[in-house]
């Protein structure tokens, strides 16, 4: 009888643990900025595995999240939500970067010097796609096929 109680307790504890994990992953994956910010979008030749909910940063500080990633023509169209108190200059460059060597992908904005600011819904024209490390290593290690 006592043994049964212990098993039940372990079972409940396990379920609570799983629920906590589920809550945590939903919380971490979701956009916390929500709809409070304003949208801007950018097109990348290769967004290299960037995911919805990835952070958008300036100087390492999170100022927004990726809301959606869709295919537009042959390019990746990334829509971001930016916190209302941050304004982005027209000549800012947005780049897909990786945390660490094989970490998650995020967007880093390098602020520009223009006196014009992006309006809500505008497109960031200056983009830099993810650098394909495998591609670079391939080229370095095996040379260009067109070498011959």
């Amino acid at each position: 009888m006592h043994r049964k109680h212990v098993e039940l307790a372990v079972g409940i504890f396990g379920i609570i643990g799983i629920l906590c994990l589920a809550w945590l992953s939903v919380r971490l994956g979701r956009m916390e900025v929500g709809d409070k910010g304003y949208p801007i979008h950018a097109e990348f030749a290769n967004c290299g595995g960037l995911r919805t909910g990835a952070s958008v940063t300036i100087a390492g500080v999170e100022i927004g999240r990726v809301r959606s990633i869709t295919l537009s023509g042959h390019e990746a169209r990334v829509e971001m939500i930016i916190t209302p108190d941050v304004r982005i200059r027209e000549d800012a460059i947005v780049a897909v970067k990786t945390r660490g060597l094989i970490g998650e992908k995020f967007l880093a904005i390098s602020p520009g010097g223009s006196d014009k600011y992006l309006e809500p819904g505008a497109e960031m024209w200056e983009t830099q796609s993810a650098i394909d490390l495998e591609d670079l290593i391939g080229k370095f290690a095996f040379g260009d096929v067109s070498d011959q």
């Binding site: 030749a45 000549d91 460059i93 390098s110 520009g112 010097g113 024209w125 830099q128 650098i131 070498d147």
Partner: protein, 207 residues
């Protein structure tokens, strides 16, 4: 008949006044730079200065140095006086010239054939992006290398001018913006100007 001639003349004038498309600008620019570089009258080390001057002159027509320098400085641009901005634009042009002229000259010396393939163009209002692939074939060994170069252009004074280049996915402006901004976090703008000046003279032994 007179009206017809007038109309044709007007159309002709209109056509010549219309700006070249961004792709045409890139194609013509590349061709003219290559012509300046391989001009038989300016070959050899004795004509080096002359050859470089001619290349620089051609590049000046197609590149908007002001915009490029401004973008490279990013948010620090507006903090400088107009004189400092002007000095920076001038030095920045010299820095690029000193950095890349040797490579350009190298391709010429190594007898490399350079051809440019236009891949695509997209534009929005006064901005355009031209994607190209550049094939370089060494004449002696037939070794071929292909690199992707994208040109960012904007409309200035009715003409398309280049303000950024992306080589194999890496932006020139982005690269310099990061470097300048990390220097300016620790040093003054005057020190940055001195640094660039030293680098320009270091790169170009003729100076």
């Amino acid at each position: 008949m007179r009206y017809l001639i007038t109309l044709i003349l007007l159309l002709g004038i209109h056509a010549s006044a219309a700006p070249k498309s961004p792709s045409d600008v890139v194609q013509d620019g590349t061709r003219e730079v290559l012509e300046a570089l391989t001009d038989p009258a300016r070959q050899g080390d004795e004509h080096k200065a002359e050859r470089r001057k001619s290349v620089r002159h051609t590049v000046d027509v197609y590149f908007d140095w002001d915009e490029m320098a401004k973008r490279c400085l990013g948010r620090h641009w507006q903090l400088q006086t107009i004189e400092d901005q002007r000095t920076f634009v001038d030095l920045f042009g010299q820095l690029l010239e000193a950095s890349y002229m040797d490579s350009l000259d190298g391709y010429n010396r190594d007898r490399t054939d350079v051809t440019i393939r236009m891949i695509g163009e997209k534009s929005r209002d006064d901005k355009a992006l031209v994607t190209t692939l550049v094939d370089m074939v060494e004449r002696d060994t037939q070794k071929k290398t292909t690199i992707s170069i994208d040109y960012s252009l904007h409309l200035k004074g009715g003409n398309w001018q280049v303000y950024d280049i992306k080589v194999e996915g890496v932006r020139l402006v982005s690269n310099y913006r990061d470097q300048f901004s990390s220097i300016l976090e620790r040093r003054s703008f005057q020190e940055l100007l001195e640094n660039i000046e030293k680098r320009v003279h270091g790169l170009d032994p003729n100076d």
